[in-house]
Symmetry: C2
Subunit: 361 residues, 2 copies
């Protein structure tokens, strides 16, 4: 794979933009920003939830954020018309990353102390970034060529390393909300990165369990490969499978076979094989009913602080549909008790996905 | 309050039906069952999720369950036409409870051993019940008169005590999924009770935190009452408030002021005041935009086994809307990391609800 080039720009409102491509980036490109934003206004704070033992983030300035603009207003399309600046400039680049105009995390430009309250409160450090997967608004992550999916993994890795270096970041979480069914407010293919000032509860729990039993996920992967009932891709360095304990009907885990704590620790051949696994998984999901599957894609990694050599970075995809047009609703059992009840068996769903023929175009 | 009468019946397919009223129930009422069901078919099993450290329930027989039938097929309406039997009989009763035809929990009539898998598996004991709040399909829980809301609390308490006596039940969880937005498949006002064979993760976490600091919720309630910023109802025995750490825009906690581990431990005057608090909270939610608010209502109680004198039973309501017609989507941060980011402050949402005028009709 050719080397990945990148260049960092500053938007007119002070936010950062990083462009990535296989060729050197033109440094004379001018970063743009759409009108109507309010960068850095507000700022979030944390409150402690005493019955769940977790932080809740309050970002009051986000209530009126952009909501499904018509296609001609796509703020993630390259700004080809100077009268209509968007979030990303025209020019030769493949992937773009910029600071979210409406970040859920971060203290804002003029940090205010958190309110004194009847539970502990704290300033909310960290930041939120937007990752534009392609200039073309009509493709999806899974439709990209292999080298471009590999580039997205490389960008996640690069941003992970960059954000982990910040003093106010404890955990870096790349993810994608795909489809209006999961609240995606823009159709243009993109993901997000949340850099939290604390370790979120699901990550904390997974790390605690892996620390108690190093090799946990690697053993599960070996067992899935041996069982050969739920795997979709078994490569030399990476696998994709419906896990035996799937909580969603169409849940997929995509993992390197070797346990590395964060994506930036992958060797180039491991990252390429992980891209193959991810791309195949996404194509299986969209091929199943010949329509885009709504999903949340979550990249699980190790926290910034401490020694987490035992942690096994991987990707989990939670599809929101349980049948064509029928969504899985999170309701009483999931939201109030924390227990998922699946109406389908992972083996049956894996068999459906294994039968989907995908092309390599 | 007059005494609560009840009578237990057996449906033609063997399932249990309990009718409740303020007057004695006619024991000659004949329990009915709608056609097309498959009671006891299937059965669920559990699989251990090694990265979350929790059980996942697999109920493959539920995939094709009843889905939003037209009003004339309401299976929760009293069976007045012998040609169209429903789940509840005609007659003088106010609240009905019956075994769910498509239970997510339970081993089924002919229990099968759980499959051997690459993670631990177990049979899924427990059961699921449906609670019909009223014969009238066009009311809601909050619209009922005070004595009828009190009756629903008394029925939850009665079923909690009855289900806790079962050998295969470790935790009793009454809840209501209200509105198609949270997956309610029937419009008729009703709730459900899940009796789990294990203690679900959210309950386990809350109990661990309360055990570590007895009086946790009672102290929070006292602080909310003193702050007077988020309370909707402050009675002698019960309160309703938007918690300082609300994760949802319109989240309400309704709690007895005295810590009791389960609803059946409430004194009659405490239960009546809790009904007042709950009814007011529900009327505030529906009055806010003059339209039914979609929500999940969860009753948090202590587990069956062990000494949980420190536990403080209460009700939490999570409203799915964040603005009229705009839903809160659970996406990357909530589903993949476990962290809620609220776009609004609890104080602001409480002020909106405090301003809603409710009638006592």
């Amino acid at each position: 794979m050719p080397p990945l080039h990148q260049h960092t720009f500053t938007k007119p409102d002070g936010r950062q933009l990083v462009l990535y491509a296989r060729a050197p980036i033109d440094p004379t490109i001018v970063a743009t920003t759409p009108p109507g934003g309010a960068a850095g206004v507000g700022g979030s704070h944390l409150r402690w939830h005493p019955l769940r033992g977790e932080w809740v983030v309050y970002a009051g300035h986000r209530q009126n954020r952009t909501f499904l603009p018509p296609p001609e207003w796509d703020p993630l399309a390259p700004a080809t018309n100077p009268d209509h600046p968007t979030e990303v400039p025209a020019g030769a680049w493949d992937v773009a990353v910029f600071d979210n105009l409406f970040p859920a995390l971060g203290t804002g430009r003029v940090p205010a102390p958190p309110p004194a309250e009847i539970v502990p409160t704290a300033p909310c450090g960290g930041t939120c970034e937007v990752v534009v997967f392609a200039q073309d608004a009509n493709v999806s992550l899974g439709q990209l060529p292999l080298d471009r999916v590999e580039m997205v993994l490389a960008v996640w890795a690069d941003r992970t390393a960059a954000l982990r270096a910040r003093a106010d970041v404890a955990y870096v979480f790349p993810f994608e909300n795909r489809g209006v069914e999961v609240g995606a407010t823009l159709a243009h293919p993109h993901g997000q990165i949340y850099a939290y000032p604390f370790v979120p509860p699901i990550a904390e729990r997974a790390l605690e369990l892996q620390r108690a039993r190093p090799g946990l996920l690697a053993e599960l992967i070996a067992a899935e490969v041996a069982a050969d009932a739920r795997t979709l891709y078994v490569g030399e360095h990476a696998v994709a499978f419906v896990p035996v304990c799937a909580r969603w009907a169409y849940e997929l885990w995509i993992a390197p076979r070797r346990a590395v704590p964060t994506l930036d620790a992958l060797a180039p051949e491991e990252r390429l094989d992980l891209a193959r696994a991810l791309r195949l998984a996404l194509r299986k999901l969209d091929g199943l009913w010949k329509r885009p599957m709504p999903y949340v894609l979550a990249v699980h990694q190790a926290p910034v602080h401490g020694d987490h050599a035992y942690a096994h970075a991987h990707i989990e995809i939670y599809s929101w549909a349980r049948m064509p047009g029928r969504m899985k609703f999170l309701a009483g059992s999931e939201v109030g008790a924390g227990t998922f009840t699946a109406d389908t068996l992972p083996e049956a769903k894996a068999a459906e996905l294994r039968a989907v023929e995908t092309t390599d175009e």
